[in-house]
Amino acid sequence: MPMLSASNVSKSFGGIKAVDSCSIAVERGSITGLIGPNGSGKTTLFNIITGFYTLDEGTVLLEEKPIHGLKPNRIYHRGIGRTFQITRLFWKMTVLENMIVPVKQLGLRTLMSQGVKNYEEEKAMELLEMVGLEKFRNEEARKLSFGQQKLVELAAVLMSDPAMILLDEPAGGVNPVMIEKMMDLVDDLNQKGTTFLLVEHNMRLVMELCQHIVVLDHGQKIAEGGPADIQNNPLVLEAYLGSTQNANATT
């Protein structure tokens, strides 16, 4: 039984079917990749799974229980954490505060009234060190560069130990060396049991980390399988990779 399964999900904006009767399953303990051309519906599917959009048709089950129709915060408390393609940090809060806000059972109110608890701060600092941003702990988030903000978002989602993490283009705007570290981090967390679903255009990251890859085009699933199958699938080459040479160029 997959941990997460979205079945026959559809979502339209105006006349355009952004996601068209799409089904995707994420096995427990896997790193599953979601790839496809720009505008193929990847982020829309993410937004449906995490409750930011309501679906028009279909179901989303987490541990066999429906989660579609739940508010994003409810879904978050069911154990699905996520990051965003374009960062959504609290701009005027410090980096450390941004790390603490999403912690489970904690909200803004607790943050304001009781301040930051020691163990939370320790954990936050550990994670910030991992992404190389510990010296920015007291800086306002808006003062960081785009790439640094992406890294803070990744670190922040890890604060609550979600059972499943959805990453929307984690490598976008991030330095190649940091991408390597990020891959090690995801791999490490996965070894410890965290399940990942990720959208990414960096093929090196996708092909090296993911056991299973789903390819979307025009809101529909056009292929799925292991990295080797996907890299050699003519439909995928045509719609997404361009050519085998391009697929290798980023590896």
């Binding site: 051309p37 785009f146 991030v174 190649p176 056991q211 799925e224």
Partner: protein, 256 residues
């Protein structure tokens, strides 16, 4: 004389916290120069200082022999430098056509605007078929082309691109870099920042590695790409087997 020359450029957003700590770099006429480096190194800040969005506190920026450091952005635009910023910058609710016209807002002669529009449309023929579409409805890669088209409306001698490949699918990214190289072959000088450092350098003539607000290495793009040290420190994906550990990639039950 280089087309663009930065000497000992110092700049900060908050007084006392220097983001650029004395940057020296040059762009020769006809070149593509690519800046790479860690997050927060100051790459975008260099671009902002050149196009006037940030006033340098020290140092000089010379463009075709004229000092432009500290000039207002619109002045720098008329000097011949256009800036395509990071992320999406189309006007999403305006049509593609209107977006292109916005690029020529400093041009007064209607005939000139008309000619340039034709040039942009003939270069990117699909733009014409989507001319009446709201730019926000286009895909990320298409929007990037609209942004470049809009910048071309000024026929600038120098174009600045901040992470043009961000968020683009592999095929779209290859097409974008091909477009950039073609614009360059036709005479456009380009200064760009790319986090996709290998692809960026592969399209460039020269590259700079920026770190902690200072240029650390400068060289021919190919030399930077071929250097194992560069790969290890900045470019990632070194071919040296020991430099990154193979991920275990445990097998899981197939999904049926």
């Amino acid at each position: 004389m280089p087309m663009l020359q930065l000497e000992n450029l110092v700049a900060s957003y908050i007084p006392g916290v220097e983001i650029l700590r004395g940057v020296n770099l040059r762009v020769e006429q006809g070149e593509i120069v690519c800046l790479v480096g860690p997050n927060g190194a100051g790459k975008s800040t260099v671009l902002r200082a050149v196009s006037g969005f940030l006033k340098p506190s020290k140092g000089s920026i010379m463009f075709n022999g004229k000092s432009i450091g500290g000039m207002a952005p619109q002045k720098i635009l008329t000097e011949g430098i256009t800036h395509v910023p990071q992320g999406h910058s189309v006007f999403p609710k305006m049509t593609v056509h209107e977006n292109l016209l916005m690029g020529a807002f400093t041009v007064m002669d209607k005939n000139v605007i008309e000619q340039r529009l034709e040039k942009v449309y003939s270069r990117f023929s699909w733009l014409k078929t989507r001319a009446k579409e709201k730019a926000g409805n286009l895909s990320g890669g298409q929007q990037k082309i609209v942004e470049i088209g809009r910048a071309l409306m000024l026929e600038p001698p120098l174009m600045i691109l901040d992470e043009p490949s961000l968020g683009l699918a592999p095929k779209t990214m290859s097409e974008l870099f091909e477009t950039i190289r073609e614009l360059n072959r036709n005479g456009l000088t380009i200064l760009m920042v790319e986090q996709n450092a290998r692809e960026g350098l592969a399209s460039a003539h020269r590259g700079y590695v920026l770190e902690l607000g200072k240029e650390k290495f400068e060289g021919k793009a190919k030399e930077l790409l071929d250097s194992p040290e560069m790969a290890k420190l900045y470019l990632g994906g070194s071919t040296d087997e020991d430099s990154y550990r193979r991920r275990s990639k445990k097998t899981i039950a197939p999904i049926l």
